[in-house]
């Protein structure tokens, strides 16, 4: 079963067509990069897949985890195992990181695990990311630096344990030392769940290189082009 099937799709925001005449197919366990110039529509695609009401996907077929995704609300998609990290994570005043994680974990898993087990999960994840546990009692993303916010996205990934993660410029804002964390988190998740699938949106060639990508999609003139192998992609980029 494909994780994601998008046949002859386009993405509209209002009257504006952002992507068109494209196909996208992702299988369980794949690691894929999506590249393209700034403003080419990478983030629009990520938000549309998350279920942003303003980014409408029109497609001959749009399936997520084998289900008709047009009928799935953002929360349904997440509960099935989709995780979309935000390029600019939202600040939510008055909602603590801890309460948020607890609520999301409960919603995602459909039940409330004992508090000690939950704390164990959160603490070990924070440790892996080198995050101070005091952060748990601060408001979600409020007053955090750009890099810290990205680490909090990775924290959510570790806590929510998705089957399929779309990581939108998760590396931007992170310092060089912290960039290794992305690989660490992906490897950790793959070790726990071998079919863990990643769609990485990034400009960082080093990061792409280090992740043993299966192939690369590229957005060119509003069309998603694929499937290049990583080496093919490098050659093409080089030629350009």
């Amino acid at each position: 079963m494909n994780l994601l099937n998008l046949k002859k799709f386009l993405i509209k925001c209002g009257e504006k067509i952002i992507l068109q005449k494209s196909d996208l197919e992702i299988l369980p366990g794949q690691r894929i990069a999506l590249i393209g110039a700034n403003g080419s529509g990478k983030t629009s695609l990520a938000l549309a897949l998350a279920g942003h009401p303003k980014y409408v996907i029109v497609a001959d077929e749009f399936k997520l985890f084998g289900q008709n995704a047009q009928e799935l609300k953002p929360s349904d998609r997440a509960c099935l195992g989709l995780f979309v990290s935000f390029q600019n994570p939202c600040e939510i005043p008055g909602l603590s990181l801890y309460d948020f994680l607890r609520e999301a974990h409960k919603a995602k898993t459909g039940h409330c695990i004992p508090i000690t087990d939950f704390r164990e999960l959160v603490n070990s994840s924070m440790e892996l990311l080198g995050l101070d546990s005091k952060f748990l009692y601060r408001d979600l993303n409020v007053g955090f630096s750009g890099g810290e916010k990205k680490k909090l996205e990775l924290l959510q990934l570790l806590v929510l344990q998705p089957r399929f993660a779309i990581l939108d410029e998760i590396d931007s804002g992170l310092d060089i030392q912290s960039k290794d964390l992305i690989k660490k988190v992906i490897e950790k998740r793959s070790a726990d769940y071998p079919d863990f699938t990643v769609l990485l949106i990034s400009h960082d060639m080093g990061l792409c290189e280090s992740l043993n990508l299966d192939f690369v999609y590229r957005i060119n003139n509003g069309v998603v082009e694929g499937h290049f192998s990583w080496h093919e992609q490098k050659r093409i980029t080089h030629e350009i």
Partner: protein, 459 residues
């Protein structure tokens, strides 16, 4: 004296003892005073106020009150006598108050409590530690008898019967409420709480609260209000006067969750002497119509006030709330923050009224008014009035009206949280600066209340 024409003696399900005929007239006022064995001056005060009430016009602004019929209300209902022990309270009342969490809260986090149903309090308590240090926490009726001089010195000096029509009504028929006195230098560490409940349909509750805090003292008074859902309109028309003497700190927290057939028309005012600090934490969730504009007079130099006012207006409700501040002293500071959530077919009005008088040098005033609208057919108004007579004044106002943020909702729902829960989390977050000022039990209750309100607003 046979003035006391009790039309209902004996027991109903609440063990009802005393209920006067419907309607408002001199005879009813006399009967109320008589039943309480009041001194003559109080009866005269009441009768004068009744006269004023009849002469004053209805408010020239705000919600439509034309459906409220003052002659169709019971003005005095006394279900039970004051009980010394909680165990002696009749089961029906005990169950109601236990359901609301009043006695449990008393055991866990309060220094003292007063519980009132209908016109008079039926239970009061104050920890001996505070009793011994001279703190007085009584129902107002008892205070008039036990502390007549102190009572007379302060009573109705801040809100007179001529203040407004409903203050006049309260002055005429007031009954119950709480009387709190904190002597010089005493800091009452735990909050004291009064809980007001209305059970009788077509009933008017006119509690009168007097809080006097002496020099350097500190206290937190919490007031909760509720009523079961009924078919007939009731009126809650309280008057609250707070006196904060030199360098004292008073926090007044009030949460009203009246049922949606109650007219809630209250007058509340505080006087701050030199260096005193007054905090109003005002939460309006229930009622049909609420008109409530807590006021603070910053009389003494360096006195301060912080007013946090929160309202949730749902279908058919009109929350007409706000705050009044008068700066008289030098270097006085006021901060007003109002937060409102409006659901389908509701109205919310914010009235901020700030005056900086001549001579109030270096006064500083800020007011901020944020509204989130959920749904359609909503009317939101903000009326900030500022009168400045002093050149050195520093005054600011800002207001915002918005929907719940689409991207924030996507962020939360894209983590698996349902749209309904995500909305409740955002609304709770919006109210957080208010909720975190509350005692824990109240905070939990407000979060639950918001979650419940969100349930039927998002399908």
């Amino acid at each position: 004296m046979e003035l006391l024409k009790v039309i209902l003696v004996g027991m109903n399900k609440n063990g009802l003892r005393m209920k006067f005929k419907k309607g408002l007239n001199q005879e009813i006022v006399k009967k109320i005073s008589e039943s309480k064995n009041e001194p003559d001056w109080m009866l005269e005060f009441r009768l004068r106020a009744l006269d004023v009430f009849e002469k004053l016009p209805m408010p020239s602004f705000g919600p439509d009150l034309s459906l409220m019929d003052v002659q169709n209300l019971y003005y005095f209902v006394k279900p039970i006598e004051m009980k010394k022990n909680w165990e002696d309270v009749p089961d029906v009342l005990k169950k109601t108050f236990e359901k609301i969490g009043v006695p449990q809260a008393e055991r866990r986090f309060l220094a003292g409590t007063i519980s009132q149903v209908e016109s008079e309090a039926f239970y009061k308590s104050l920890q001996s530690k505070w009793k011994n240090s001279g703190v007085v926490f009584l129902d107002t009726d008892a205070a008039l008898k036990e502390y007549p001089d102190l009572f007379k010195q302060y009573f109705s000096t801040l809100i007179s019967s001529t203040d407004n029509k409903f203050a006049a009504l309260n002055c005429a028929v007031w009954s119950g409420g709480s009387f709190l006195y904190v002597p010089k230098g005493i800091a009452v560490e735990l909050p004291v709480q009064a809980y007001f409940r209305m059970e009788t349909p077509n009933f008017g509750q006119f509690e009168r609260t007097l809080i006097i805090v002496e020099e350097g003292a500190k206290v937190h008074y919490v007031e909760g209000c509720s009523a079961p859902v009924g078919r007939n309109s009731s009126l809650h028309c309280g008057v609250v006067e707070v006196f904060a003497n030199k360098n004292s700190t008073v926090r007044y927290t009030t949460i009203q969750n009246w049922s949606k057939n109650v007219y809630n028309l209250v007058t509340k005012r505080a006087l701050a002497k030199e260096g005193a600090k007054i905090e109003w934490i005002d939460g309006n969730f229930g009622s049909n119509v609420t008109m409530k504009y807590p006021g603070v007079i910053l009389e003494g130099d360096n006195s301060k006030t912080e007013i946090i006012s929160v309202a949730l207006a749902s279908s058919g409700q009109h929350q007409d709330v706000g705050a009044n501040v008068i700066h008289k002293g030098k270097s006085t500071t006021s901060n007003i923050h109002s937060k409102t959530i409006c659901k389908d077919f509701s109205k919310a009005t914010f009235r901020g009224w700030t005056k900086i008088e001549n001579g109030a040098e270096n006064a500083k005033s800020r007011s901020k008014c944020d509204t989130i609208i959920l749904g359609e057919n909503i009317q939101v108004d903000s009326f900030p009035d500022v009168f400045v007579q002093e050149n050195s004044a520093d005054v600011g106002h800002e207001a915002s009206i918005s929907y719940l943020d689409e991207l924030q909702l996507l962020y939360l729902t894209s983590r698996g949280i349902s749209l309904q829960n995500a909305s409740a989390l955002l609304v709770n977050g919006f109210f957080d600066s208010f909720v975190k000022e509350l005692p824990m039990e109240y905070a939990v209750e407000i979060n639950r209340l918001v979650a419940m309100e969100m349930e039927d607003s998002i399908g």
